[in-house]
């Protein structure tokens, strides 16, 4: 043990090599940036692989995808979708039921790139502390957006939603959306660690509801190998999800069943003991 505190994951890099200690992070960035590029080659090169944005998109004139949270807001505001949007919402729901609800947050959502950067900078600058807010705040905001949609008869949240504002803005013109994104960035950097994605965002809160039932999970087949280095806690954007499964609190099986795990896989990367790996929710007793 060296006296100088190491950056989380240093042990894993030493043990497994840099590439293996960053495997899921790299794949995740490829996914996030790749999805943005798929949307961008349309307006940039008039190569229309996919049209639309995360709210609703149409790929290769064949595959409709629609955001279930947005359609829910539309329904409570008293309007109904057409056939393609209905098909799209079913596909999206099934997809995230398979890969994990908040997988949307860490593999698809463009705001994650911004908040991850804020968090990285926060770590490098050694910024500590900040405001405290319950992680359940996002569910209150989720409820509020639905009530507001029902009362006002319009999709109120879409007027300020940084997620769709950024994604739409990148392909249709950003306008002042950059200022909104800057506020999210600065909030995460200076005011609250994992503030936006981990405490406030109702989009993530909605996808976490899908995550209650989703199949793909982080499993801990070798949790007894844990040497309490705390690296996984340091990198996890939803730290509260790890402890029960890692420590077997109250007989919790070695699989992270918490709905707010974003399946980012960073814990798998930084663990030098290979405690974590991706798997399914089924066959808990088998491990």
């Amino acid at each position: 043990m060296s006296a100088v505190p190491q950056r989380p994951g240093a042990e894993a890099v030493a043990e497994k090599g840099w590439l293996r200690a960053h495997k899921w992070l790299i794949l995740r960035r490829i996914s996030q940036i790749g999805i943005l590029l798929l949307f961008l080659v349309g307006p940039w090169f008039k190569l229309w692989i996919v049209k639309g944005n995360l709210n609703y998109s149409y790929t290769l004139d064949f595959l409709p995808l629609a955001d279930p949270y947005l359609l829910l807001q539309m329904l409570v505001a008293g309007q109904s979708p057409e056939r393609l949007a209905l098909i799209g919402v079913v596909i999206v729901l099934l997809f995230y039921l398979l890969v994990g609800g908040r997988t949307y947050c860490s593999w698809v959502c463009p705001v994650n790139l911004v908040t991850d950067l804020a968090n990285w900078l926060r770590m490098r600058l050694g910024l500590k502390g900040g405001a405290h807010l319950s992680r359940s705040t996002r569910y209150w905001i989720l409820g509020m957006t639905l009530v507001a949609a029902a009362v006002s008869g319009t999709i109120v949240w879409e007027m300020v939603n940084p997620v769709s504002m950024l994604h739409r803005g990148l392909f249709f013109g950003l306008g002042m959306a950059w200022a909104v994104i800057l506020v999210v960035f600065l909030f995460d950097l200076f005011v609250m660690r994992h503030g936006w994605c981990g405490h406030l965002c109702p989009v993530g809160a909605f996808y976490s509801l899908i995550g209650k039932l989703s199949v793909t999970r982080v499993r801990l087949p070798q949790r007894e190998a844990c040497n309490d280095c705390m690296d996984c806690f340091a990198v996890c954007p939803e730290q509260q999800v790890i402890r029960p499964a890692l420590k077997g609190i109250g007989g919790t099986p070695p699989v992270i069943m918490e709905e707010n795990c974003t399946n980012c896989g960073r814990c798998i990367d930084v663990c030098s003991k290979d405690v974590f790996k991706f798997g399914s929710r089924f066959g808990i007793s088998g491990n």
């Binding site: 955001d67 057409e82 300020v160 504002m165």
Partner: protein, 286 residues
Amino acid sequence: MDNESKTKGQAGNASRRQFFADTARMACGVGLLGLGLGLYARHATALPPAAIRPPGALPETEFSAACIRCGMCVRDCPYDILHLAKPEEPMSTGTPYFVARQAPCEMCEDIPCIKVCPTGALDHSLTDINKSRMGLAVLIDQETCLNFLGLRCDICYRVCPVIDKAITLEPMSNARTGKHALFIPVVHSSDCTGCGKCEKACPTEIAAIKVLPMYMAKGQLSAHYRLGWVEKEKAGGSLVAPDAEHQYNLPEGMRYEHGGKGLTADPAAPESAAPVLPKAFQGGRL
């Protein structure tokens, strides 16, 4: 034993109190946020007059609920006239609009923007573009309209895709010169689609004819108003009193045709075809 249960009870009490305090704090905070958002929404859903929705758009309040801001209409517009509202623009963020003076709707017969809309925000039952009502053209400034000034500009009339129905030219006498005609462009709401081609084409520095959202452009009669001539036609005759033919008290051999030839000698008169003085004037006696 007693003491223990007491402290337990106190602890339960305290945690319950904490729970209620936390819940109240959260409800108030998020409620306040919701209120602010709702009030902002009230402002932001009022469509500015220069922004025209694509064809088939629902009325504004319903539109802002049905539109999911995906931009598919923008993508499938072959003339790239549509934009999505940016956050700083004074309307629902991410909703589509066009500005007629920059680029009007080209009125595609297959209406691709409606076809691609994944919700009912653009009404899929609209299949005839001539039946769309994106807004209503209004000749808003008679002081600068070249036709009103006596020229034969006629551009708005010429470019109108529903020519001679949505805009007609109505001749009027030019009171200023006393001998020329004015050809006044008149917009008819029964046929104007609000495409904005007239506004785009108007050659004045600032367009004298503009497309406005329907709610600004169109008046409405009170519900109890009846148009006499319409009711008369429906009933097949006068509803008030039977029409009596007007009797003119005219000298013999003369007749008067209202709205026609005016005062003439009656050709059926038995005497000569030339106008004959009435008896009273003959012979210089009364």
